[in-house]
Symmetry: C2
Subunit: 474 residues, 2 copies
């Protein structure tokens, strides 16, 4: 290992560091809540049988497959500060910007060692070289689950995703600043998981005579923006784009645009089951609901919603305006919103894809997955003062060392006994009692123990009472 | 968010990814053990009141303070794949290569928001751009604890470090391939924490008339290499280096070398308390033990060892040959070895420093810390087949869906009840019972539940018995 003089070596020259934009870090009291959240999410994921994987921070640039698209600008490459000729012989490495690409590469590379259906969760940081601006993070946690299976994967897994996400999100530990009480997220915010199936819109477009992939993409992209932007300029833009690329003289793009607006109008209503939607479509005599793809989409969406009937009303709804921006989704798609703040965008999204790792292996791996934008959600609640921030350390009990050295072995016994029972213990430093008590108070340590007479003080109530380290509970 | 076509978009061109040298990743069954280890370490750290912090993967290059030293070659810088003119306006960023520099920067930056003594742990990946070679990792976990306090920090904290490390390492969950039993690490390997105090060697060198910092550094570096290299070429090299830089005609470098060899001879013995060492020094009439720094060192080392008398014999010993390579250590120093494989080097090291963050803030922050080389230790036991690898997923119970649809609500009840009781449950997919059972077997799921008649099969013993989801325990 190299001899490094470290940050302590150069006393005279002080370099005052400033926070690096887009790379947030928390004080210990906030970090404790972040850990609670991560633990909670992990516990729910595991309770459904998902196993953890962790992939390196980097992938080969070839794997990330940069293709000159928008996302390229967000890719961070890494290189050694002092390169030598050997460096050019090795593959270029880039920090991963999501967990889907690394998972696809992992599934391809370890295919023969995995048992299918393979259900994995992944909770790591990802990096995106965005321009610095308020609220935009360049480093953030994502929490992903995916199930993949060679050749085909039952639709039941599409229903499992919203069930898991509802369990995760609804019970995230939060704080209500008005009532000053700790509450689960569902008591603080109205969260709603919105499900759709891309086959419905695809089938509908086909009934309008559209075959062109380019035109389909324009329509999908317009509908994806529905909740985020104003409707009329969107529609005008869509019409112009469609007109420009339409090569089929039998298609009247104005009429096409009207038909899509019909779909949008219906789609903007929320349905609790897919039949309601089908009825609404049928009510519009212009719409042909017999298209096979559209029927398949309605069937799949119905199956998903039927499987979720045990969730509270409004937790999951069908929303045909959900289509997702990513091209690889082929069936079920999900978004999750705060219903009272729809412009905030989705906090948890995903969907069904036909093939995960086709770029890396000659296998057909369909799957379904969903991803929680952890850091974005966490930071929103943090800035709103809605996190249960209290203690600055995990210590449950601060032991005040006895004045008489003869009592030291007794103190050691208490310390060992409590710790052995899963209670977090610290020995107070220094000699002055008022400073020791101030330390407990400042760090939010709830109990102080006096070994001489086995008295415990509850720092929140001020009450003091005798206690036995073998039976005392926090 | 950019439209990214993802890994699924280009079926025809297959790019077969290969593992990236130095960036290890594990199969799910190994990852489960890695998580157990990380959970265990975190639990012990927290049981002593250490709070978690997590810092970004990157620091400003100015903070890392690259100074043209050896470590520079190991620094990875990051930059956007497609830079524009704005990029040059921002500070250059580098991946952190340890957790001490980020902690020092964190302590300086958040100084006013922290409560002292500040006890933090940090368990993150660090990156070092080493040349690829067997066993050398470029990305690995470190698990660090440090305590810092403005102006002074009681010596009791120096004793707490080995106590915590002993508790962590001795009970890491392992597997004995000979007895085929799961055992804690202490029953598999003889681990020993070796403690010394730099003041002893510093004081001793001073009694030999050495004032030159350069000569001191040569001697420290030589003694640091003691366990790793052969003695005689080391001593020859040290003598030549000392001769070259000696400017004091009153110092005979040959005699100096002999005196240092005397120290080495004594230092190579292990002592269980510092008095034994002082006696050994005194026995050598040439050695003047009245030097103030040396006395202070012996006093501090004695205090540390006295505080650790509750640990098993041999868990912690005084070893005066421990000096550590890093210049910033000033008192207590630690290394941890497998006593039967001394050439493997230290798996957990650290020490006392006079000032943590002097480069970043005009405060005096002495502290003491220690760091577990987590990934290196984990990978050693993994390649030796000494990890308790068994299950490939966290699922405790696989429920076989009933043939009769009327029983589906009953299945749902069982699933919800078990999960609510903290048991990890999966519903089997597919329809063929033999395939469902094979899935449980291949993934190492210990129990299979048949809802129709509430029977549970233990997959390891093959026994089947009736069970109530409200009271059944795994």
């Amino acid at each position: 290992m190299a001899v490094y003089k470290g940050p302590m070596s150069d006393k005279k020259k002080i370099y005052k560091p400033s926070p690096v934009s887009g790379f947030p870090e928390w004080l210990p009291e906030v970090r404790i809540v972040e850990q609670q959240w991560l633990d909670h999410i992990r516990k729910v994921f595991e309770s459904y049988g998902f196993c953890s994987i962790e992939t390196p921070a980097v992938e080969e640039l070839n794997v990330i497959g940069a293709k000159g698209e928008d996302v390229d600008k967000e890719i961070y490459v890494i290189e050694r500060l002092h390169k030598d000729e050997n460096d050019t012989k090795e593959a270029r490495l880039a920090l991963h910007f999501d967990q889907t690409v690394p998972f696809a590469r992992y599934a391809a590379q370890h295919f023969n060692d995995l048992v299918f259906p393979f259900k994995r969760y992944q909770m790591q940081k990802v990096w995106r070289g965005e321009r610095p601006q308020a609220g935009r993070m360049r480093e953030f946690y994502q929490c992903d689950i995916d199930v993949i299976n060679p050749d085909n994967l039952p639709i039941a897994f599409d229903a499992e995703m919203p069930a898991i996400i509802w369990e995760v999100l609804s019970s995230l530990p939060c704080y209500n600043p008005e009532t000053k009480k700790n509450v689960p997220l569902k008591e603080l915010e109205n969260i709603q998981i919105r499900v759709s199936n891309r086959k419905i819109l695809t089938g509908y477009i086909e009934t309008l005579g559209i075959q062109s992939e380019e035109m389909k993409a324009i329509i999908f992209r317009t509908i994806d923006k529905l909740t985020k932007e104003h409707l009329s300029p969107l529609i005008v833009g869509m019409h112009e784009a469609l007109k420009e690329c339409n090569e089929d003289p039998s298609i009247d793009t104005e009429q096409l645009t009207d038909s899509i607006m019909e779909f949008i109008k219906i789609a903007k209503n929320k349905f609790t089951n897919a039949d309601e939607f089908e009825d609404a479509l049928k009510f519009n005599s212009e719409i042909n609901t017999s298209n096979e793809t559209l029927q398949k989409g309605i069937e799949e969406l119905s199956a998903v919603l039927d499987n979720l009937s045990h969730l509270p009303e409004g937790a999951v709804v069908a929303d045909l305006s959900i289509v997702r921006g990513l091209d690889y989704y082929t069936g079920t798609v999900y978004e999750t919103v705060f219903t009272e703040d729809p412009t905030y965008g989705s906090i948890c999204s995903g969907g069904r894809y036909d093939d995960l790792a086709g770029s890396y292996i000659n296998k057909h791996l369909p799957g379904v997955g969903i991803s929680i934008g952890f850091s974005r959600l966490f930071d929103r609640l943090r800035t709103q003062g809605k996190l249960p921030v209290s203690r600055k350390c995990p210590t449950d009990v601060l032991i005040i060392p006895p004045r008489d050295e003869a009592d030291l072995p007794k103190m050691k016994d208490i310390e060992t006994t409590l710790r052995g029972r899963g209670i977090n213990v610290e020995i107070a430093h220094g000699k002055k009692m008022n400073k020791q008590m101030a330390y407990a108070e400042k760090k939010g340590i709830p109990y102080v123990w006096f070994p001489e007479d086995d008295q415990v003080k509850d720092m929140r109530t001020g009450e003091q009472s005798p206690a036995d380290p073998h039976s005392w509970n926090k």
